[in-house]
Symmetry: C2
Subunit: 323 residues, 2 copies
Amino acid sequence: MAQADDARCLAAAAALAERARPLASPNPGVGAIILADGVVIGRGWTQEGGRPHAEAMALQQAGEAARGAALYVTLEPCAHRSPRGPACADLVAEAGLARVIIGMRDPDPRTAGSGLDLLEQAGLIVTEAGLSSEELGLSGHMAQLQLGRPHVTLKLAMSLDGCIAMAGGESQWITGEAARAHAHRERARADAILIGGETLRADNPRLDVRLPGLALRSPRRMVLTRSDAPDGWTAINSPAGIATLDDVRYLFIEGGSGAAAAFLAHDLVDRLLIYRAPMLIGGGRASIGDIGLGDLASAHDRWRLDDTRQLAQDRLEIFNRRR
Amino acid sequence: MAQADDARCLAAAAALAERARPLASPNPGVGAIILADGVVIGRGWTQEGGRPHAEAMALQQAGEAARGAALYVTLEPCAHRSPRGPACADLVAEAGLARVIIGMRDPDPRTAGSGLDLLEQAGLIVTEAGLSSEELGLSGHMAQLQLGRPHVTLKLAMSLDGCIAMAGGESQWITGEAARAHAHRERARADAILIGGETLRADNPRLDVRLPGLALRSPRRMVLTRSDAPDGWTAINSPAGIATLDDVRYLFIEGGSGAAAAFLAHDLVDRLLIYRAPMLIGGGRASIGDIGLGDLASAHDRWRLDDTRQLAQDRLEIFNRRR
């Protein structure tokens, strides 16, 4: 099969992986598709709590038809045999597949290439697509393994002139319903949401996911503060404190400008979600406080626009930190 | 010919009209195309100083071939006979054209439908496309006739968080070369450029057009100030003062935040050019000062995104005021 088709099948597997987010925690959300003669005969994604894995689910669907077929999986099949279940590389090898195409290697030291070795020793043809963790929906997994902290998204909802509120504080509403619904969906994709202490005291926001069918996905609530957190909230007293959150893959920062600035000043933001309403406020509250920028030159080349879409009258832009 | 083709030919005429801007002053910049059997046999645009008109130029090119052909012209041919030249409606009628398709009627009281009457009386088939002045490059002409003032563009070059400079004032450079060259081209399309008194004192900018071949297009320089203007500058002491500028069709406001706010507070901005660099400044200088906004609700539904383009790493968005 041509490389273009491989890319399409991996993209389909990545779309399945999205279903696992964030429910698969503490395991990474992985997606898998099994193809025989151009027909999808099995689909899987990491199940709630992390098991079964995507490969196991897809193989179970495919059954005997898996013999000679091709498996597309976003992440290298695991090689570690655990009390919770068999290693996926073993399962895949036993199923008699002809080919395995993976999105990327798993840097988890328990696998880290040994999943591929196991498959090749079993006689399978293994292809690595070498896609990015963003493309594969694995950025949270990679952040924890490579940076020792969650993947951090900062959300900003602003006017064209970069204000998140009028000078007096009025902020309801700058963006419209479609943009706010999109932001709720983004909340549902996070393990935890964080706001600044000042925002908590001023607004005491619920930060739940108010979308039909997704209410149970409301993430853990965190506040950046040196004081104690109120009931139902977890406090961290510095942005660097997120390194202790090893059960959080995706952290979503909702503001305000002080919390946003604190994380940016520590270079602890990986992704920006900017919702912009086609309005001017003029002399309103800035979206981001002082981030300790030394000069303009050092502000360049840090952000890459990776996606943009119209949400009714508003515009969403998604930037990722260049690293 | 189908309506879609009419629209394409008018768009081509509008592209020719762009050559007339701003050199055609005090006349509107008009474009014209003559089509015979699907072949362009004449093209014209208003010449420097306003004469010859676009129709006269296109008719001269077409010569005898104009008999039975179709004329596409962005604005209704003028009906006023002046010492500077014949009325275009007379010229068009005498040329033996079969059809005339106009972009819009000319509200100039010396024409205002009488150009069309003259053509119909001469037996031509006349079609009005009813396009907008923005589509036809006639917004300056319309602003002067309908609002009694120039068409006003406000340019903003900012970071993603809406800052036009760091807190200390450093602003070179936020946007890159491609965006700055585009802004110079926009200067060349204006009759006059305006900045605030504070910006003049702080930066004393040249505001010339630093593009090869366009240096002579550098527009008149104006400053919003209650003091006297220095040599080479014209002072206006309030945004409402632009009503006296009846020889200016297109006014280009370059900043700073005070001048921008003053014009916005008077609802005297028709078009926003926002150049955004993919950087965050954090705690920098806001792009727009206080515009006297009463509540968020009244800030909605004022701006329509009409065009957007990538300029190397930067993004340009063009908004027009909904009226």
